[in-house]
């Protein structure tokens, strides 16, 4: 396994507030990497730095050995590095199938592909993935009318439709019915093993992330507090303190 995302000494502050300070992490290709930390520890800021929503103050971010810290969001997305949003973003006025079809990987399209209609295979793929996340019955509903959890699943399916190399998930289980969480964990694992997508996940739910991740990082107060396997993190006194201290 080699590292696919390499974050080195990244710092970012908003005005006087330091959100990230000299953070270095690595995401291994083909694995599931977790990022935890109390509220306000700078997790989402780090995500946004990686996918290009704001400039970083210092350090370097590499994706497949290519420096991406100066690129725009869409350029990074076109490299195959995709993210989902903490507050889901879907095209609310369209139905689920349309949402899926728009998410076809445009980066892989030639001009000819772009100006042709969606093929039968595209529809089948959309249906298959909607079934995969359990939204098949709702596929002709306006996506804006779905519940928050369902929208989240739809966004996940859209991301899969896009065939990314790496998928950054911002709190995938937040707002999802607890009874569905086990199913979601299963789907995330299958996305990793069956579709071969490297996952990098921010998660608050310790049970979820400890179950899935093979490598974890813990942030606190904008700094990297600990890293290691889930077991190591679980038993790290500093991590426990950070969480207890934050509450």
């Amino acid at each position: 396994m080699n590292k696919i995302i390499e974050v080195k000494d990244v710092s970012k502050s908003y005005g006087g507030v330091v959100a990230n300070k000299d953070i270095s992490i690595e995401v291994q290709e083909g694995g599931i990497t977790g990022l935890i930390g109390p509220n306000g520890s700078g997790k989402t800021t780090l995500f946004n730095s990686i996918v290009g929503y704001h400039p970083i103050d210092g350090g370097s971010i590499k994706f497949q050995n290519q420096e991406i810290s100066k690129l725009q969001v869409q350029d990074i997305a076109r490299l195959g590095l995709l993210r989902t949003f903490q507050q889901t973003r879907i095209y609310g006025a369209m139905d689920c199938v349309q949402n899926m079809l728009i998410s076809l990987p445009h980066r892989k399209m030639s001009l000819n592909d772009m100006f042709s209609r969606n093929t039968k295979a595209d529809y089948e793929k959309a249906d298959r993935l909607l079934e995969f996340v359990g939204l098949y019955e709702k596929r002709f509903l306006r996506s804006g009318s779905l519940s928050f959890g369902q929208q989240k699943l739809l966004e996940f399916a859209m991301a899969l439709m896009n065939e990314p190399t790496v998928l950054l998930l911002d709190e995938p289980t937040a707002g999802i019915n607890p009874t569905l969480i086990n199913g979601l964990i299963d789907r995330l694992r299958r996305a990793n093993t069956e579709f071969g997508i490297t996952l990098f996940i921010i998660e608050h739910n310790m049970r979820v992330i400890m179950n899935m991740a093979d490598k974890m990082y813990c942030l606190a107060h904008g700094e990297l507090l600990a890293e290691g396997t889930p077991d190591e993190i679980q038993n790290d006194q500093r991590v426990i303190d950070a969480y207890l201290g934050a509450h």
């Binding site: 996918v51 725009q72 969001v73 869409q74 997305a77 076109r78 195959g80 995709l82 993210r83 949003f85 973003r89 879907i90 095209y91 609310g92 006025a93 369209m94 139905d95 349309q98 079809l101 728009i102 998410s103 076809l104 990987p105 445009h106 980066r107 399209m109 592909d113 772009m114 100006f115 042709s116 209609r117 969606n118 098949y136 019955e137 709702k138 596929r139 002709f140 509903l141 306006r142 859209m158 896009n162």
Partner: protein, 345 residues
């Protein structure tokens, strides 16, 4: 089957209209012009969410490009536009029709190129900035061209009249506009069915999401606007020869005239729909032709009021209203489809 019949009737109506309404040939041609500019405005405005107030730039530029190309087939442009020269300029039939043909193509291509260049600058702008930026481009172009003596300055350019019978000329221009209008309609109908069309809608609904999904938004926006500009440029070229004489500010870059009409047409008919711009353009044009002369100079005030009322109270237009009242006409059978899907399962 029903649809084939509808299209058949429409095409037949288009063909016989100038013959059964001989007094209204010019108005009918102008109606097609409205349909063209409304349809092309909707490509970026309705389908992509980029509301340009400067599409009239392509109309005016198309006029000038076509005129310059048409004249230069026969004469030196600077001599021709220099009114003080007082020379008499005659065009052969070949030069005249060649001028229209080559002028239209040149106008279309030139405008498409302009759209790419201007779009490359302005498409970084979102929402109101884009609207104001494009409006600025149109106004600046009008001012600059009216100071440019090579193309006649503020006087504009006079083109040769149609060689041959006056009435045949009217029919000729009617069919040029009607043909272009049909071509635009077929083109956008096809375009909206492709993946490109879907991407345009994605940009409209949530551009940030579209970017995050790796859609090359700038490229798509440029292509869409260039296509719109291509057709508007050709429409401008035909207008130049139809009107015979045009001025930079009043005719070519008529910002508050046609430039705003096209937006009103689309809003009246329904933004982001295929038929909305067509219906809106016909409604607006008929309304305008019928009432204009009775408003005794207040027509422009009425136009302003119409814009305000449409925008504030009737923004979804006829099609939006119909969709609300008769959703089944638009295949929105959400309940049934879900039910049947569940039944299958």
């Amino acid at each position: 089957m029903n649809k084939t019949l509808l299209y058949g009737i429409l095409i037949a109506g288009t063909i016989i209209a100038p013959f059964i309404l001989p007094d209204y040939r010019t108005q009918l041609a102008t109606m097609w012009l409205m349909i063209i500019v409304a349809l092309t405005w909707d490509m970026t405005g309705g389908q992509m969410g980029y509301n340009s107030l400067g599409n009239i730039f392509f109309y005016g530029t198309g006029m000038y490009v076509a005129a310059v190309v048409g004249i230069s087939l026969a004469y030196n442009v600077a001599d021709y536009t220099n009114a003080a020269g007082g020379g008499i300029y005659k065009f052969t039939d070949g030069q005249y029709f060649g001028g229209i043909f080559l002028g239209s193509i040149a106008a279309g291509l030139f405008c498409a190129a302009c759209a790419v260049i201007i779009g490359w600058i302005t498409f970084g702008l979102r929402g109101p900035y884009f609207a104001i930026g494009t409006l600025g481009v149109a106004i600046a172009a009008g001012e600059l061209v009216s100071n440019w003596d090579w193309v006649g300055g503020g006087q504009g350019i006079a083109l040769p009249v149609y060689p041959g019978d006056f009435n045949i000329g009217k029919i000729f221009f009617y069919f040029l506009f009607a043909g272009l209008g049909c071509a635009v309609f077929i083109f956008v109908k096809w375009l909206y069915s492709t993946r490109f069309g879907a991407a345009m809608n994605a940009i409209r609904d949530d551009e940030e999401k579209a970017e995050a999904m790796g859609i090359h938004t700038l490229r798509y926006k440029l292509i869409a606007w260039a296509m719109a500009a291509f057709f508007v440029g050709i429409a401008g070229a035909i207008s130049a020869f139809q009107l015979i004489h045009f001025e930079p500010l009043e005719t070519a870059y008529q910002t508050i005239n046609l430039g705003i009409f096209m937006v009103v047409c689309v809003l009246l008919g329904g933004k982001g729909t295929l038929w909305g711009p067509v219906i809106g353009a016909i409604m607006f044009h008929v309304f305008k032709e019928v009432t204009w002369n009775y408003l005794l100079g207040w027509q422009w005030v009425a136009l302003g009021a119409l814009i305000v009322v449409t925008v504030v109270y009737f923004q979804d237009g006829v099609m939006g209203w119909l969709m609300l009242k008769r959703p089944e006409w638009f295949g929105m059978k959400v309940e049934q489809k879900t039910a049947s899907a569940e039944a299958v399962k």
